[in-house]
C-alpha cells in the first residue's frame, strides 16, 4: 500500500543500495508529505539507516535517485539536517556538550568562517530547547544515553533546517525524555518542519506519527498512519515475508548474482 503525494518533501526513485552484493534497500520508490512527522519502521537490518544515509548522500545509491523539495540534495543541503544513530560516534572524544552542538552551525558557516555572537545565541537557545543548558560545559562521555541523544538533537536544531532525518532518536532514553523529545518534534512540526524518525516501538507509534513508512529491504508501505498501521501490513513487514526476502538476498550474495550496478 503506497500512497503518493503531490508537492512532496522527499521523493525517491528506484533507490537501491547494495553492500557486498547484498541489497540493503531495494527499489524504494516513494513520495513523502511536507510538514508531518513520518515514522520509518521495520525489523533490524531492514535498511532503515541505509535509507536515511542514501537520502543524505552518505552512501551512494547503486541505482536510483533522491529529490528533496524537487531539487537535488546539493541544491537544498542547508535545508536538510541529519541526526545519526547515537552509537555511530565515540563519545570519549575530547569535546564538551557545547562543542558538539556548535558543530551544527558549521552547516551554515562551512569549514572556515568563524562562529559569531548570533551563532552563539542560537546554540544556547537550542541547548535550552532540549534542557541541556546546565550541561553545556560537560564532557560528552559523562552524559547518559538520553542526554547524548539530546545533544545530537540540539546540534540538528542549530541547523535551522526544514527537513530532519533522525535515526533512532528515541533509543536508550527514559520515558520522560522520550515525552519531551516528542513534544519538541510536535512543536517543530507546527512550525512546518518535516521530520523523518526511525523508530522501533510499535506500541507508541500511533501517538507519534502522522505518516508511516514500512520497510523490509523493499518498501512495504508508505501512507497516512491510520491506513498503513493495519495488522496484515505489519505482518508483511515483520512476519513471514521477511524470511523469504532475506533468503533471496542471501541467495543473491551466495551465488554472486549480479544486481544491476550503475
Amino acid at each position: 500500500m503506497i500512497t503518493e503525494v503531490k508537492d512532496p518533501s522527499i521523493e525517491t526513485h528506484n533507490l537501491t543500495v547494495v553492500y557486498n552484493k547484498k541489497p540493503a534497500i531495494w527499489n524504494i520508490d516513494f513520495t513523502l508529505p511536507k510538514g508531518q512527522i513520518i515514522g520509518i519502521m521495520g525489523p533490524n537490518g531492514s535498511g532503515k539507516s541505509t535509507l536515511l544515509k542514501s537520502i543524505m548522500g552518505i552512501v551512494d545509491p547503486n541505482i536510483g535517485y533522491v529529490r528533496i523539495f524537487d531539487e537535488t540534495l546539493d541544491e537544498v543541503r542547508d535545508r536538510v539536517s541529519y541526526v545519526p544513530q547515537r552509537q555511530s560516534v565515540d563519545w570519549d572524544f575530547p569535546a564538551s556538550v557545547y562543542d558538539v552542538v556548535a558543530m551544527g552551525r558549521y552547516a551554515r558557516k562551512g569549514m572556515f568562517k568563524r562562529l559569531n555572537k548570533a551563532d552563539h545565541e542560537v546554540i544556547l537557545e537550542c541547548l535550552d530547547k532540549v534542557n541541556l543548558l546546565p550541561y553545556q560545559n560537560r564532557q560528552i562521555s559523562q552524559l547518559s544515553g538520553g542526554q547524548q541523544q539530546r545533544v545530537f538533537l540540539a546540534r540538528a536544531l542549530t541547523q535551522e533546517a526544514d527537513v530532519y532525518l533522525m535515526d533512532e532518536p528515541l533509543v536508550g532514553v527514559d520515558a520522560s525524555t522520550e515525552q519531551s523529545i516528542i513534544t519538541l518534534l510536535k512543536q517543530m512540526k507546527s512550525e512546518g518542519k518535516t521530520i523523518l524518525v526511525v523508530h522501533h516501538d510499535l506500541h507508541t507509534a500511533s501517538d507519534y506519527f502522522d505518516w508511516l513508512v514500512l520497510l523490509n529491504t523493499r518498501l512495504v508501505a508508505s501512507g497516512p498512519f491510520s491506513e498503513v498501521f493495519a495488522e496484515d501490513i505489519l505482518k508483511d513487514t515483520y512476519g513471514g515475508q521477511l524470511t523469504t526476502l532475506s533468503k533471496i538476498a542471501s541467495l543473491l550474495k551466495e551465488k554472486s548474482f549480479p544486481m544491476r550496478h550503475k
Binding site: N20, K53, M56, G57, I58, D74, R77, V80, S81, Y82, P84, S88, V89, D90, F93, P94, A95, S96, D99, V100, M103, Y106, A107, M111, F112, Q139, R155, Q159
Partner: protein, 432 residues
C-alpha cells in the same frame, strides 16, 4: 665525563652537530604530536604503522635515483611510497572481501619486505655515501645534517598551517564523519589532505625514530595528553609539547651513548611520559581513580560499621552498653577486613569510642548510623513502589545505594514518597 655530564653538555650545544640534532629531533617530534592527534582520535594507529613501514622502499629508491642522501629527495620518495600504501589498503579493503586489518598487514609486509630487499642490495653494492641509510630502521638522529633540518622546518611550517586552516574540518571528520558529510564537507578531499600530511610527518619522523617505532611517535603523545584534558585544542598543544620533549630527551640520551639508535630511546621516554600521565593525569588517571575508590571504600566501611550498631541496639532503643569486637564480627555481616577498616577509620574520625573493652558510638556516630539506615529504607521503599519490585528484592540494591544518596536526593525521595513512616518490610524509617 660521566654520563650525566655528557647528557647536560648535549643541551649546551658544545659541538655544532649537537645543535642540528637538537633542532632536527624537536621539529620531527613536535609535528608528529600535532598530526598524530588526529591519527589517535580517528583510531588509526594501524594506518600509521603501514605508512611508517612503507616509506622504506621509497627512501631506498630515492637514494638509488639521486645517488646520495639528499633530504628533499628522500622525503619525496618516502611520501610517495607511504601514500601508495594507504591507497593500496583502501583499494584492497573496498574491492575485495579482505578485511581492512588484514589488508593493512598485507600491504605493510609487502612494502617493508621490498624496502629491506632494496636496502640490502644497496649495502652490498658498495656504493659511496650509502652509510646512514640503515638508520631508517631504528632511527639515528645524530646522522642528521643542516640540510635535513632546513627541510624539516619548512615542512613543519606547512603542516602546521594546514592543520590550523582545516582544524574544524579535521575535528569533525574525526568525531562524526557521517555528519560532516551530511552538511556538505568534502570528506574525500579532507581525508586525502590529512593522509598527505600524515605521510609527510612519518616520512620525516623515520629519520629520528625509524620505521619500526614511528607509529608510536604518532599515537603516544596524543594518548598521553588525553589524560590531562577534555579539550581537543589543549590536548593537541600538550601532545606537541610532550612529543617535542621526548624527541629531544631521547636524542640526547642516544647521543651520549654513541652508537645507540635514537628511536627506541625516544619511544622509551615517550612511554614513560604516557605512563606518568595515566597515573597522575587529572583525567581518567589511574591514580586518581584509585584514590577515589579508596575514599569510597572507606566511606562504605565506616557507614556499614556504624549501621551495625543500629541493628544491635534495635535502633538505639536498647542500651546494651559497649559492644565487643567479637559481637560486631558475628552480627554485622561485614567482611572481617572491612569491619577492621571501618572501626579504625570511625575511631579516627571520632564516631566511635572504646569503653570497658567494647565500642560505643559518639553522638555524631549515632547520627550517621541512623542516617544510613534511613537512606537504606527510603531507597527500598522507593524502588519497590516505583519500579514495582517485590519487597524481598530490594535489599541488595539498597545496600549499595545507601552510601551515595546525597541530602538533596534524600529530600527528593521523601517528598516523592510523601514523607513515609515505614519501609516495605514495615520497619520504621528512623528520623534524624
Amino acid at each position: 665525563m660521566t654520563w650525566w655530564q655528557e647528557f647536560i653538555s648535549f643541551f649546551s650545544f658544545a659541538e655544532p652537530n649537537v645543535e642540528i640534532v637538537f633542532w632536527g629531533s624537536l621539529l620531527l617530534s613536535a609535528v608528529s604530536g600535532l598530526v598524530g592527534s588526529f591519527t589517535f582520535l580517528r583510531k588509526q594507529s594501524l594506518i600509521g604503522d603501514v605508512i611508517a613501514h612503507s616509506v622504506l622502499p621509497g627512501i631506498c629508491l630515492a637514494f638509488l635515483i639521486g645517488k646520495e642522501k639528499d633530504p628533499a629527495y628522500l622525503l619525496i620518495g618516502a611520501t610517495i611510497a607511504g601514500w601508495l600504501s594507504t591507497v593500496a589498503v583502501d583499494f584492497i579493503s573496498s574491492r575485495s572481501k579482505i578485511k581492512s586489518d588484514t589488508a593493512i598487514a598485507l600491504v605493510l609486509s609487502v612494502f617493508f619486505g621490498l624496502g629491506v630487499l632494496i636496502l640490502t642490495n644497496i649495502q652490498h653494492s658498495g656504493m659511496a655515501n650509502q652509510s646512514g641509510l640503515d638508520q631508517f630502521i631504528f632511527g639515528r638522529a645524530s646522522a642528521m645534517n643542516p640540510a635535513d633540518v632546513q627541510v624539516f622546518a619548512v615542512v613543519d611550517i606547512l603542516i602546521t598551517l594546514v592543520v590550523l586552516l582545516f582544524f574544524r574540518a579535521f575535528k569533525l571528520l574525526s568525531f562524526d564523519p557521517q555528519f560532516a558529510q551530511s552538511i556538505g564537507f568534502p570528506l574525500d578531499l579532507l581525508r586525502v589532505i590529512l593522509s598527505v600530511i600524515t605521510v609527510a610527518t612519518v616520512a620525516m619522523g623515520v629519520q629520528a625514530v625509524g620505521v619500526v617505532l614511528m607509529s608510536a611517535l604518532l599515537i603516544t603523545p596524543a594518548a598521553a595528553a588525553r589524560f590531562w584534558t577534555d579539550r581537543i585544542r589543549v590536548m593537541m598543544i600538550l601532545a606537541v609539547v610532550i612529543s617535542a620533549a621526548s624527541g629531544v630527551i631521547g636524542a640526547a640520551i642516544s647521543y651520549t651513548s654513541s652508537g645507540m639508535p635514537t628511536g627506541p630511546w625516544i619511544v622509551i621516554v615517550l612511554s614513560a611520559m604516557a605512563l606518568l600521565s595515566s597515573l597522575v593525569g587529572k583525567n581518567k588517571g589511574l591514580l586518581q581513580a584509585r584514590l577515589l575508590r579508596w575514599s569510597n571504600d572507606r566511606k562504605i566501611a565506616i557507614e556499614n560499621t556504624l549501621k551495625s550498631f543500629f541493628y544491635l541496639t534495635d535502633g538505639f532503643e536498647d542500651d546494651p552498653g559497649p559492644i565487643s569486637s567479637k559481637t560486631l564480627r558475628e552480627k554485622s555481616r561485614m567482611h572481617r577486613a572491612d569491619l577492621r577498616r571501618g572501626i579504625f577509620f570511625s575511631r579516627l574520625k571520632g564516631f566511635l569510642k572504646k569503653e570497658n573493652g567494647g565500642w560505643v558510638l559518639s553522638e555524631e556516630g549515632e547520627k550517621i548510623s541512623k542516617e544510613t539506615v534511613r537512606k537504606h529504607r527510603l531507597w527500598e521503599l522507593y524502588i519497590s513502589k516505583f519500579m514495582h519490585l517485590k519487597p524481598d528484592h530490594v535489599h541488595d540494591d539498597a545496600e549499595g545505594i545507601e552510601h551515595i544518596i546525597t541530602p538533596e536526593i534524600e529530600a527528593e525521595l521523601e517528598e516523592l514518597l510523601e514523607f513515609p513512616e515505614t519501609d516495605p518490610h514495615d520497619k520504621a524509617i528512623p528520623k534524624v
